[in-house]
Symmetry: C2
Subunit: 555 residues, 2 copies
């Protein structure tokens, strides 16, 4: 960096650190009477929200939580989760949003890896913890979350097979609502989330206060300033990607900062979601294509006016068919691109002046692309040698990125962290092109993640599972397009000679099915189709040629 003339530090207010508590502080200025609603069983306004966030901080303090401690959450999408989004980082602790869709073994891995000091767990997920509680290595405390208390104050909470500090609402009610959140370094670690990528164990990405603050500013600039997905504080927001998944793509921070009315839906039951959308006149959501598909095809949606609903689609590609179906109902859909490592938003559909008067079909072709690069983010494409390729819409290479909200690596994983960052650029592992107008197209992946129902399933993981079944020799798994789930895995297997006329594909699927039932693996890990072959196609350097396999299986 070149030497410049710095502003001398003359006051304690020099830094005005960019902290999560700063976003929270704005909520009292403009429309603090607006509501935050949970499943129609709980509602509060922003005044009350602020008080509850402070009560929660006092609870942490009374439980002996120290700045820098990790606090895990296992909950449905709720107002409680939102309270943790603010109270945990503002307290100086780190929010670990536990991915409840992982297998119990993987959840255990992340809890031990993160060293959670306390876990707030919804009673629906208590059985998972009961199954793994003896293997949790840290001296972890637990707080029980329950929906029942909102319907009946005296409702009996389940008895968990592990000791707990008590029930959330009961504990909050006993705290003071006065708590002054302290100032600290804006590079303080605020949140962490474990992502299941292409290799075995989940990897922890992490974000600082400054990074989440800047992500919020980037989205506000893009959506409110450039009108990419036109919204303002007057929109009504409901998340439709889980809050554990990179903080629901950062939107709860944006919506809270802007005092938006917010609706948290709990579980994703399509008719209930459609009912909430209608009842609260929700105007803004974000989700993976599978969820959009489920919502617009449910019975309630058929009798609901969704013409004011704007939905950002990410996680996997938005098909023209789904986009058209949504459009027919008056829904505004826009696709975007990002990843857990990038907090996550990197690009979102944006129509510039020249694209204002397109035909519906042409406009849709822009809306379903990976989008135009967001403010403050720099994306480049590089060839195998690391050279930058031109932004001509044709040159294809790996997408690399820089910007104010990229994870600095994977927690306690220097090897993969080094792979992630090369030459000062974050390597997305995705392959694509960028055109002259900063529009991004994703054409492939460097590794072969299978995106099914919004989940990123590692093909290597499935290969690993299959290869452990007696009789299975070589194996290759690829994702193939699926109307309902986006993609579904298919497997090629070379049997060991001794098992040649003994095993059938059905028998192998049944074995995996048992692991699904025992909770060892998730059901979407089971390939749709298993094909016995005598040889797995390889590249010239002996690697499995997945491109060729996909092509052959598609034909």
């Amino acid at each position: 960096m070149i030497q410049t003339r710095l502003i001398p530090r003359t006051s304690s207010a020099y830094d005005s650190p960019l902290l999560i508590k700063t976003l929270l502080a704005q909520t009292l200025k403009y429309n603090p009477q607006r509501e935050i609603i949970y499943r129609n069983i709980f509602r509060m306004n922003y005044f009350e929200f602020n008080c509850r966030v402070r009560r929660l901080a006092n609870l942490f303090s009374n439980l002996g939580i120290k700045p820098g401690d990790m606090i895990g959450v296992m909950d449905w999408d709720s107002h409680r989760y939102l309270e943790c989004f603010f109270a945990v980082p503002a307290y100086g602790a780190i929010l670990h949003t536990i991915n409840v869709r992982l297998s119990p073994a993987q959840i255990l891995y992340t809890i031990n890896h993160a060293e959670d000091k306390i876990i707030l767990v919804h009673e629906d997920f208590a059985p998972i913890l009961e199954a793994i509680k003896d293997k949790i290595t840290a001296d972890t405390k637990f707080i029980i979350l329950s929906d029942k208390v909102y319907e009946d104050k005296n409702a009996e909470i389940i008895k968990t097979g592990f000791p707990s500090e008590g029930e959330y609402e009961n504990l909050l009610s006993r705290q003071s609502e006065l708590y002054e959140f302290p100032d600290f370094d804006e590079n303080t670690w605020a949140t962490t989330f474990y992502t299941t990528g292409t290799t075995g164990e989940p990897k922890g990405v992490y974000f600082s206060h400054r990074q989440l603050f800047m992500h919020t500013m980037g989205l506000i600039s893009y959506f409110c300033g450039y009108r990419a997905l036109p919204f303002s504080d007057q929109d009504v927001y409901m998340p439709l990607t889980p809050l554990f998944h990179v903080h629901a793509w950062g939107f709860p921070f944006v919506a809270t900062m802007l005092n938006n009315k917010q609706v948290y839906p709990g579980r994703y039951e399509p008719d209930m979601l459609a009912k909430l959308l209608s009842e609260h006149q929700v105007t803004l959501s974000h989700c993976v294509p599978t969820i959009l598909n489920m919502v617009i095809n449910c019975e309630t949606a058929k009798v609901t006016d969704l013409s004011k609903w704007k939905v950002l689609i990410g996680g996997s590609a938005l098909t023209t068919g789904l986009a058209k179906a949504a459009r027919t109902m008056g829904i505004t859909v826009s696709a975007g691109y990002g990843m857990s490592e990038t907090a996550p938003v990197l690009s979102v559909a944006h129509l510039n002046d020249a694209q204002q008067n397109l035909s519906e079909e042409e406009e849709l072709s822009y809306r379903i692309k990976a989008g135009r690069i967001t403010p403050f983010v720099e994306l480049r494409i590089i060839d195998d040698a690391g050279n930058f390729l031109p932004h001509d819409g044709k040159s294809v290479g790996e997408i690399v990125g820089r910007g104010p909200w990229m994870t600095q690596g994977y927690f306690k994983d220097p090897e993969n962290s080094e792979k992630l960052w090369g030459n000062g650029w974050l390597h997305t592992g995705d392959v694509g092109s960028i055109d002259e107008e900063y529009y991004l197209t994703i054409s492939d992946r460097v590794k072969d993640v299978i995106k099914t129902g919004g989940e990123w399933v590692s093909s290597l993981d499935i290969e690993n599972l299959l290869s452990q079944i007696e009789g299975v020799g070589e194996v290759a798994v690829v994702g193939l397009p699926d109307v309902r789930w986006g993609e579904r895995p298919q497997a090629l297997i070379v049997l060991k000679p001794a098992f040649l006329n003994i095993l059938t594909p059905e028998m192998i699927k049944n074995k995996m099915q048992k692991d699904v039932e025992s909770g060892k693996i998730k059901k979407w890990y089971v390939p749709d189709k298993i094909i016995f072959v005598t040889e797995i196609p390889k590249t010239s350097v002996g690697k499995i040629d997945k491109k060729k396999i996909r092509k052959e299986l598609s034909e």
Copy 2:
């Protein structure tokens, strides 16, 4: 600050410093074909703007400018000024926006105080420099700006009485348009501006890249996100406060970041301004009440549709009369509050949900107040002992502020810097109240600046001038309301006994008038009325009781 767990620094992209060049970089992504226009004699789009900014950086490099050097500008409101807004800080140098309305002696003071290495000067202002050139202590270079070259490429530029490097357009045309702006510390000093406050010499406020970046984010959040002054990238922007005055309140940074179409008007001739507003369908401006009054009362305005025009008013209070007059023409007016020391915006009118269905009159009463506190800014009121007073709309005290865009002091003036910052709060010197809804009302000033035509004239300065006139004994100057200028000074004078029947008020005004003609003082320093008295009202501690004087003179 408490100790927290920091994100480890693992990549060179860790910082993503918040730099002015980052705002510039966004302009190529979304609508780079939009135009920046100067007085209908020059127009370019954002592609060209980017090239020209880079040419300018190459020019600085070729002239031997180093990072940290001070670069002065004396220009009308032009595209050239905007180019300096970006090229100078992005180069690592410091932009000194010279207040061309100061007296030559004061301009000389600021040039020497800032140690300008180079000054870009419009030929209209060359005579000022000619008059003071021998007293400029730094080895300053000069570049001549001229409007003539846009109308006739071969136009002859004035011969200045000081050596110059040449004419701006001519010099730019010989530079490369390739220049990679470097990364550096975001706390690098970016701009400086000399403010004439209540004491003698102008005082230099200064802002870092980070501060200007955050000011831009604050305005975008407030105006685009919270719809305080609803605008987006689709607005057309024209400044009506000079670019030298705290970077035209920061709006050129906002408008450029958002790719807005921009119109720079040069000098402020009302009919020409109204013509530009109409021709380019300008939707967003900001100005002091005097300018708004001039524009809406000019002949052209009477036949112009200004119903899409939104104007932020600051500098002095917006009267109900002026607000109503503007409203009658369909103009949306909103008042705001800020000061040079605060970059400058601290508050802007904002109507919350409860204020959406007010009568026109009630709405106006909110629009003309000092406004609701902007995002990220904290304002408090304190009593004489420094205690915080409640935000009840009644308690009155000095307004103090904190936030990400406050000057850290006055350049080379530790004494006044210390006075400005007390207990970690910036002391505005203004007195007011804040209500429960974060609405600010300014009721008085701690010191007695007279705001006339958007200028802040120190009453102490005028007293000082008057007291130097032979025969003048004691003197007190206060500002009194004036329909045209907002306020105008009036003076009470106690004559020395020997001059009792010799001097008349007219004679004293004539003496000051001569100083105006010789350029020693500005014409608005001459009091409207001079009254001879036998005694100046004093407070109990012997200080001049200006409150009492104002009250008596008003009655």
